[in-house]
Symmetry: C2
Subunit: 162 residues, 2 copies
């Protein structure tokens, strides 16, 4: 995990990858914990659906099924449960009367916000232990990485992790 290299040479892509894989474990662990807090009330597909609605806004059933990667019929029944839990709302929009528009209900938004807040809080707790130099470095470094990551086809939502 700790690549031994001459500190005066530029790190190879693979070495940087090593560092990112390690950080990935930490960050994914944090994400997992934030999610574990709502486990029991919400299944993973249900959470994925909420995240997607929070990101992309109101949507019809087909688009959601496509985004979450499930069969339309599965999406219908998944929405049944989310509606029953009052986390989303179904409505019949004007225009195309075949469509059903799914909207995140206040309770649904609250859950998403809670998970995000927990994640943020935990990360902030870690960052608080770093000095100013380290903080500045992280900001610059991760900014560049996020930019690079952002250039990829955005199917990172495949599993609904935010």
């Amino acid at each position: 995990m700790s690549p031994k290299r001459a500190t005066n040479t530029a790190p190879t892509p693979h070495e940087v990858g090593q560092a990112l894989v390690v950080a990935s474990r930490a960050l994914v662990g944090i994400a997992a914990r934030s999610l574990a807090a709502i486990e029991g009330e919400l299944t993973l597909p249900q959470y994925r659906a909420l995240v997607w609605l929070a990101e992309r806004g109101p949507s019809n059933v087909g688009a959601l099924a496509d985004a979450v990667g499930i069969h339309p019929s599965t999406a219908t029944r998944l929405c049944d449960r989310l509606v029953h839990k009052r986390l989303i709302r179904r409505s019949n929009p004007p225009g195309d009367r075949r469509e059903v528009v799914l909207t995140l209900a206040p309770a649904g938004e609250a859950i998403i916000a809670q998970v995000t807040r927990m994640r943020h809080a935990e990360i902030d707790r870690l960052v608080a232990g770093l000095d100013a130099t380290a903080r500045a470095e992280i900001i610059r470094a991760l900014g560049r990485f996020a930019d690079a990551a952002g250039e990829l086809p955005d199917d990172a939502w495949q599993l609904g992790w935010s």
Copy 2:
């Protein structure tokens, strides 16, 4: 997502948190994609069990149930399926004849390796697009972050993400 701040001042912990949350999305997305590749053959709890066995080595049913956070009876039947898929092995160790020792089978190790490899490959692909300075910065910055994260109680495995 891009906190506007004076570039000459030290970033606040919260600003660093912002950057990490953004990077977190990217990294978690990568982890999710690596996992999605084996979806269909393996459920999430099954994957979590494999990861745990890969990390901690051979284990009995109770410890695995505890680690993955499921009921012992659930663990028994989860193991039934993993054994049937030839991803793990059950054996009766000498000594305590009540215990059952679970071992990762070669096919199970292969799956873990495949997921890890995919994740690494995708991260490396991103890093390849960065220049030497950025790489060096990421190495330093993430090293410090990982150190800070490592000081936390290690329950990041709660959901079995590696």
